[in-house]
Structure formats: C-alpha cells, structure tokens
C-alpha cells in the first residue's frame, strides 16, 4: 500500500498510508479464493461477510461491497485502519499459509473510503419502536451498540464525558493513523440514523445510572466507558516535570490538537523522549513525540520484540521513522534536576527467564547492568484499567479486583437492565473486540426489552 516517505512523515501528522487505488483494490481482491469454509470470517470479531464483499470489489461494485460490510460492522473505515488483522481475519486466510494473506483490512478500508467520497444518500432512519436506551461512552463499543439499536428502531442517547464523541478513536489513536475527519463522519452517520449524542456528560456525577433508569425512563443502559485510568510504574521520580501518562500525552496531542499552534493547549517541547511499554499506545506516543520535534525517541520495553503486543505494522512504521527500540530493558528510576525537571532515566537490562503463568517468558533483571538514558521526557504506556467512577456511584454493579465490570456472556451486568462491554469489561483490549461486545450487548438489550414488554402485556391481560 502506498505510504508517505518515513523521513518526511515523521515531521507531520498526516495519515501515513494513503490507501489503495480502485485498480489496486480490484487486483488484490482477485487474490481471494472465495473458500467455502470462510475461515477469515471466524477470525473477525464482528463476522464481516468477507469473501462476499471482496467478490463485489472484483466486480467493481464498491457501494454494494460497502453495504455488505456494514451489515455487521458499523465502523469499517476505522476497523480497516486499526484492527490487528494479522492476528484476526488475515491470520486465518488460506492464502496466508503459503505466501501472503489477502489484505482484508486494506480492502475494507478502501471500500469505506470509496463510500465516503462517493455516497450520495445518508443512512436511513428506522421506524421508532418507542423504547429508549442510554449508552455511556461514545468509544467503539458504545458506537457499535448504538448503531445496532438504532437500526432496530430504538431511541438511543449516547452520553459522552468529553466534548467530542469517539472515545479512544479521538483522544488515543493519532491523526497519522486514523484521521479525525473519518471518526466524525462515522459519528455523523449515526446521528443521521437518529442517535442522539450528548457531550460534556460525566455519568456518575451529573446523572447516575439509577437516574437514567428511574427518572429519565430509559428502558436499559449500556456501559461502554472503557479503561481510561492510567497505570504508573510506582518508581522514584514519576511525579517529576516531564513525566506523562500516555493518556495525557496523547489527549493533549490528539483531542486538544496541541501539535497545531492554532490550538491553545500546550505540550512539552522535548529533546529526547523515553516511552515505556510495548503496546500500540506506546508506538502512538513515540511516533507522536517524534512528530512534535524530539530528536531522539526511545521505546523502552522489558521483553523482546517477539512478545511485543503492538501491531506488527505499527512497530515497522515506528522503526522506519527512526524510533529506537531498547528491548529487554526496564526503568529503575527517573532522575530530576533541582527545578524538578526530568534529566534522565536509569535503566536496567533484562534477560528472558522461565515462562510465567501466562506462558510468556518472564523478564529478569541483570544485576549491575544499570545505565542512565539521556532524556528530558518520559511517557508511561504500561496499560490502563477501568475508571472506578461508575462502580462507585452505581449500587450493586459488581466488578473484579481490577475494576473490570462483571458481565455474563450476553453483556448483562449484575444490575437488571444494565449491560456493559468493551474495555470496561475486559480491561484494555482492541477496537474491534469492543465493537463486537457492543453488538452482542445490543442484541441482548433488544431481547431484554422485548421480553419485558411481553411480560408486561401478559400481566395487563
């Protein structure tokens, strides 16, 4: 797929990859063998009808292909860009066994982009069924739950704490990987379908879950509030000036557009940056720091490349953009100057020991291998957990010891009429898994409300 030159793009926030042309898309689509068993579909958490939409591309029926995808996936322009296809649909592709898998993600993206540029009519509004559902959080899981419920005729209101809808799609994933215009288009589509998005609404403070159900007469509530609470390492020097959580750094840059001088929110002008962690968030933070002008950007990760949870493509992009990887190294403390500013980070080298309970080889420190890394900024990207606000303000909402909301397989929580999904339930995971959870919950909410209605009409007789 065409992409901006690495040494040009690491100074701008424009999208890295420019996408397929129609000719390239058709050519790639022809590689699909249209297998009877369709293993790719099983690999997709929302079971997109993959061979069918790809076949439509070979016939240059791009709009029909779009309709085929959106039967099960409401955010194809997003998923085509940010899904880790190598471990999902493309991992199961028969062609991948010998040679390269069909580029399903890129084809999905092409179709969604083509639709965005050429579509003439807005999505249709379903006939209302008179029932109201409240959705807390406008991230991927809330959006996909809202889309399915709106299609089924529900009157859906999404409550978002931030001033812009999209959740991690707007505050977390950078512009150069997912242009914000695409996210806002997807949200406008939902609006056209009748979904009401209310921003600046921190549920748990301005309104409680109980008030939504009792006072505002919502028939059901879906919690898709994500896992936004950042973890810190708990090492010396973490409160020095120049130490950020990845959430803060990315929120400043992505949501508040601190990279653009026209916007007022400041962000540190760094010379050398250490990003601690090995996931997508770490890659995003490192590549953002480079684009904001840092001369040196290091990824400090305690395991080896093989264990890195980040998408393969993002790791490769980061390497091309001259991000330096310090694998099998771990921070010991952050060092400050007399003004409380970061001036370095002490790091210790690691080696891989015996496999732990998760099956991954546990990293073990090599005594005496400490050295000081010359950095003026440290970004901590070692994970997030669910925000405890809803748990604290909703009586009877059970969570596990990490604060993840407990649900049954259908997304029902311990509270009647309250459903949950996405990172709020699983802890930090992927966009597409959150979307899958939103879909599952939408079906359960539909069943729950129908059942309640049926029970009501029986008692009325």
């Amino acid at each position: 797929m065409p992409a901006q030159d690495p040494l040009v793009r690491n100074h701008n926030f424009k999208e890295v990859t420019t996408g397929y042309t129609p000719e390239m898309a058709v050519e790639e689509a022809r590689r699909c063998l249209n297998c009877k068993t369709k293993p790719c579909v099983e690999g997709c958490p929302v079971n997109v009808h993959i061979p069918e939409f790809i076949h439509l591309i070979t016939e240059e029926k791009f709009e029909e292909a779009f309709q085929k995808i959106t039967e099960t996936n409401s955010l194809p322009a997003v998923c085509g860009r940010v899904c880790p296809q190598e471990s999902q649909c493309e991992a199961r592709c028969v062609r991948g066994k010998k040679g390269e898998a069909v580029a399903i993600g890129r084809l999905e993206r092409f179709v969604a982009d083509w639709h965005r540029e050429h579509a003439s009519r807005p999505p249709e509004k379903a006939v209302t069924n008179g029932h109201k559902v409240a959705i807390i959080g406008s991230g991927p899981s809330g959006l996909s739950c809202a889309a399915d419920l709106a299609k089924a005729g529900y009157d859906v209101t999404i409550f978002e704490a931030f001033h812009t809808g999209g959740g991690v799609l707007v505050y977390g994933i950078p512009e150069f990987r997912l242009p914000k215009a695409i996210v806002s288009d997807e949200i406008n589509n939902l609006r056209a379908m009748g979904v009401n998005l209310q921003t600046d609404m921190v549920i748990g403070r301005i309104l409680s879950v109980d008030e939504l159900l009792e006072d505002l007469n919502f028939d059901a509530v879906y919690i898709g509030s994500g896992a936004g609470l950042p973890s810190f390492m708990g090492i010396e020097g973490e409160d020095l000036i120049g130490v950020y959580s990845a959430n803060e750094y990315l929120t400043r840059s992505n949501l508040m557009k601190a990279y653009n001088m026209e916007y007022a929110t400041p962000i540190r002008k760094s010379r050398a940056v250490a990003v601690v962690g090995g996931g997508n968030v770490a890659m995003d933070a490192a590549r953002t720091a480079k684009r904001l002008g840092a001369e040196k950007v290091y990824i400090v990760y305690r395991r080896s490349f093989a264990e890195m949870p980040a998408r393969k493509e993002e790791v490769e992009h980061a390497q091309e953009e001259q991000i330096e990887f310090l694998n099998l190294e771990n921070p010991v403390r952050i060092i400050g100057d007399e003004r409380g500013q970061v001036k370095g980070m002490e790091v210790i080298k690691m080696k891989l020991g015996e496999p732990d309970s998760s099956g991954r080889r546990r990293p073990v420190a090599i005594p005496g291998s400490n050295y000081e890394l010359d950095v003026d900024t440290v970004i901590v990207a070692i994970g997030t957990t669910p925000n405890p606000l809803l748990k604290k303000t909703t009586e009877g909402l059970e969570t596990d010891r990490w604060g993840c909301i407990y649900t049954k397989d259908n997304g029902a929580t311990s509270r009647e009429g309250v459903f949950a999904g996405g990172d709020a339930v699983t802890g930090a995971a992927t966009v597409i898994l959150a979307m899958g959870a939103g879909k599952t919950a939408a079906a359960s909410i539909d069943a729950y409300i129908r059942h309640k209605k049926a029970a009501l009409s029986r008692t009325e007789i």
Partner: protein, 285 residues
C-alpha cells in the same frame, strides 16, 4: 453551548459569571469544580463552583484572569455562550459535624472558600472567615462572606484595608486568643495554603486545602493533576481537589504547576495585546 446569564466584575482582574447549566446546578456541592472550554481552539480549564442555584438552573464561577483562557473568558459578556461546561467534578467537601470552623481565603481563593463557609454555616457550625488580600482595591465578596459567617476578618498585606498582615498571623492570634477550631479550611495560592497548614499542624487542628494542579480531562483518565498526599500519588480531579493540608507535598505541587510556565507566559502576553491598539489577528477569537 452554555449561556452566560450574568456577569459582574468583582475587581480589576476577578470576574463573576452565572452560567446556565441546570443539570450541573441540581447536583453541585461545595468543593466541586467544573471544566470549561471557551471555543474550538481553547484549552480545558478547571474552575471551582462558587455557588449554584437549582431553581434558576445556574452555576456561578468566579475567576481571575491569569492565563489566556481565563483572560478570553473575562472578555465575554452576558448573553454570550461558552462552548463546553462539564461538571460537577471532584469529590464534594464533607462539612458536617463541625462545631467551630475557620475558613481562610487568599485573594480569588476567597471565592472558592465562600461556598464551604456557607455550607458549614448552614450545617450549624460557628464560622470565622479570614479573608486575605494584597491591598484594598482587590477586596471581593465582603458582603457575601459576612452573610455566611459569625466573624469576618479581612487582612491586607499593605494594611490599606482591615488588618495589616498575612492570614497566618491572624489565624495564630485567633487561636492564641482561645478560639478552639475543630476545622480549618485554607484556599488560595499554594504558598499560603502551605503556611496555614504549618501553623495548624502545631496546634493539631484538622486542615483541608483545595488544590489547583494542571488538569485536562478532570475525570481521572490522564493523571496530569497528580499530587503527593501522605507520600502517595493521588489524582486531584477524582480523589480531591480537597485534601488534608498536613499531608500534601506543596513544594512538588508548586514545581508541577510550573510545567508550561514559559509557553503560558508567551500566550498570555499575546492575548493581552489583543484589543490594545494594533491588534494581532490570531484567528482564535
């Protein structure tokens, strides 16, 4: 969009505004705050809720124009709109069960201390207020404070109004005169809160301070507002903003608040030039 219902200048730099926000007004309690964003290009800035009226559906904010965002907000008039207004955020103060409280405000901090004094007063406590200002011309809210306390003591650094001296001097003299406070609340500049806490520590009086670290989201998702309390890292936006003054690391808070000092100074100066002669068009208005 949120309507500015009324506006009043309290002194040259401090403005009071009533914002139409009925849902927030219904829930707001003393000690909580809001975050506003003036326009598309603006920052998210926290301000303590100075008052709220559920019937009018209004939330009152009182702020000093110290940076670009507050400077631009102060130029808005009644009838104008604020793009975003989020709240109520933070934990409400727990102000029940006290017999004799001393509420201390420094400068614009008096506006933030005022709702706590009001609530303590409504809960039946004897309330003394020590309101400290640099000089006479910046004294604010005198009548409002008088109405919610038993004794109001105004101090000015230069002695141009009330008693000359710092709030800490007045507090010491009140304690030494035999006032038995079971709670002190101190809200104002960080050094003032630090020194009040040092005084009350000697007398073993429970002391609450309201911290003002840098914030972005205000909902606990970034940790930009982290402060050290009792040796532990806490997020002021969800664990506070009120904390035990004897446990707060004020020196670290002062350092962290200087994070973007250079950038803010440059922007503030640019904002101040707006409307002063040959205006530089910034495209941000």
């Amino acid at each position: 969009m949120f309507l500015i219902m009324s506006k009043r200048r309290l002194n040259d730099a401090v403005t009071m505004m009533e914002i139409e926000a009925p849902l927030i007004a219904r829930k707001a309690r003393a000690g909580q705050f809001i975050i506003f964003r003036l326009d598309e290009f603006g920052e998210r800035v926290p301000l303590t809720i100075a008052d709220s009226d559920a019937e009018r559906g209004s939330v009152t904010i009182i702020f000093q124009a110290v940076g670009k965002a507050t400077q631009l907000l102060s130029q808005k008039e009644a009838g104008d709109f604020i793009l975003d207004f989020v709240g109520p955020l933070g934990k409400p103060s727990e102000l029940e069960g006290y017999k004799h409280a001393c509420v201390i405000g420094g400068g614009v901090g008096n506006a933030i201390a005022y709702p706590s004094a009001k609530e303590l007063h409504n809960n039946g406590a004897i309330v003394d207020i020590i309101a400290g200002f640099r000089s006479k011309d910046i004294v604010i809210l005198e009548d409002e404070m008088k109405a919610v306390c038993d004794h109001l003591y105004i101090t000015t650094d230069d002695g141009t109004y009330g008693e000359k001296g710092f709030v800490t001097d007045k507090l010491k003299s009140l304690i030494d005169a035999g006032n038995h406070y079971d709670l002190v609340i101190a809200i104002g500049p960080v050094p003032m809160m630090k020194f009040v806490s040092k005084v009350t520590e000697q007398y073993h009086i429970k002391t609450l301070v309201s911290l003002n670290p840098i914030m972005i989201d205000g909902t606990g998702m970034c940790g930009g507002c982290r402060v050290k309390v009792g040796g532990k890292t806490r997020f002021a936006c969800v664990d506070g903003p009120e904390f035990d003054g004897h446990e707060v690391d004020f020196d670290e808070l002062m350092l962290r608040n200087a994070f973007y000092k250079d950038q803010e100074k440059a922007e503030y100066e640019e904002t101040c030039r707006i409307g002063r002669g040959p205006a530089k068009v910034t495209g941000k208005e």
